[in-house]
């Protein structure tokens, strides 16, 4: 049938010539190519000492943000947990007591907030879902560890360091 797009090409498979069937010239060519690669610049990044440059919209480990006065932004609304396709986020909400206004911005806050880094696929949907701009995936790589339980990051690891001053 005629091709509509006119881009159809019939590929012809020629029988191999004697030189091709001998196979050795091809091997010599391959050896020359790999030999040249010995002297090329090495691509290796020496990881712990050197890090790969990451792009601006890189999604790394999560961090829970504080506002300009150093109060935690998260209000434990659970939208991030709902949005998460990997079911990685769990939290327990608590009510802000008198005298804690300097710690939490909203009346309700997350007493426990856990992200299971083994479940997380670093899709960034939690970041998009958050109405309070409380969670961002702006951290570094996830590092290796020995026990599964150590991959469940609590608030101690997630919340940003308190503001100085």
């Amino acid at each position: 049938m005629e091709s509509l797009s006119n881009r159809k090409k019939v590929i012809e498979q020629k029988p191999m010539t004697l030189a091709e069937r001998m196979y050795l010239p091809a091997i010599a060519k391959g050896l020359a190519i790999t030999f040249r690669h010995m002297f090329k610049k090495k691509e290796t990044i020496f990881y712990p000492e050197q890090e790969r440059p990451i792009s601006e919209n890189w999604r790394g480990l999560h961090s829970l943000k504080r506002d300009e006065n150093g109060k935690e932004r998260c209000t434990a609304c659970g939208l991030c947990a709902l949005a998460c396709p990997a079911e990685a986020i769990t939290m327990i909400a608590a009510e802000r007591k008198k005298g804690e206004e300097h710690l939490y911005r909203e009346e309700k806050y997350a007493a426990v907030y856990e992200v299971n880094m083994l479940r997380c696929i670093f899709c960034g949907l939690c970041e998009e879902a958050c109405p309070k701009e409380a969670i961002y995936l702006d951290g570094p790589f996830l590092e290796a560890d020995y026990l599964r339980k150590d991959f469940i990051f609590g608030k101690d690891k997630l919340v940003e360091a308190p503001l100085k001053s």
């Binding site: 050896l31 190519i33 790999t34 030999f35």
Partner: protein
Amino acid sequence: MELAFVIEKFALVIVIFMISLGVAAYSTLAERKIAAFLQGRVGPHRAGWGGMFQPLADGAKMFFKEEIIPTQSNQFLFIAGPSLALLTALIGSAVIPWGQSLTFGDTVVQLQVADINVGILYIFGVVSLGVYGIMIGGWASNNKFSLMGAIRAASQNISYEIAMGLSIIALLMVTQSLSLKEIAAQQSGFINWNVWAQPLGFLIFIICAFAECNRTPFDLPESENELVGGYHTEYSGMKLGGFLFAEYINMFISSAVMATLYFGGYNFPFMNDLGLPQNIITLIGVLFLFAKIFFFIFFFMWVRWTVPRFRYDQLMNLGWKVLIPLGIANIVLTGIWIIVKDTYFK
């Protein structure tokens, strides 16, 4: 006198044993380094300067790993497999002339453990024994992947031994001797290297050597992506190390055999025109032999990281339909050449 002889040979055996193990250990590092360089990486470089101690780290790791002997396996043969592989890999070095002779006062030390007059046949015998280690190990594992790998190894070695033998017959027609010492001695200088007289024979030999050592492109016995690990699927710890080590020792020995048979062994260009004392010449010769061996080891690795693995039918086609006829043609051509030379160029 007798005692001195025994001590001399014993010392030589120990030295060669140590060197074989050392070269094999550092071949593992070299393999990883060369693989890395050919692929634009740097390879292991953390343990010691530039990764110098990596073989030690690997060895220590092997020793500390858990040794698993499958319950359904034949325990005795399971352990015998890697031991046999190592043993047969090591005893090949006995007949290789590592150098000429060293003279201390009036004792002459030959740098060869055993100068037997059928040295080449001995090497062949040992090389064909090598497949038993693989065969036994693969069979004793009681695992179909292991068995498959072992069967492949056996059929591959048998097929390529024939072509290798044919290439050697042509070489023997030129050298008129089966003793490796004499073959090496005949090739003094540079012009007399057998590779100039037997280029086709050398080509066949080196291809067969790749196949006999189970190196890529002929590493079907352990092809990881079809057979898990081939004949050593069930092995762990130092028994696995034994198999891997045997492969590297085999590579070292076959490089030494190639260097001796075709590339002049310990001979180097202008060795008789330098006017140096015999001992010095011998030592330089040993260095040259090792340089040649290392080149061949490098070549083995270089090919490994360039050429992909053959398919099984291609392997058998190459062995039976290409290399064997070529080997026979080479014998005929060599015969014609010898007659022509004897009648017209005398």
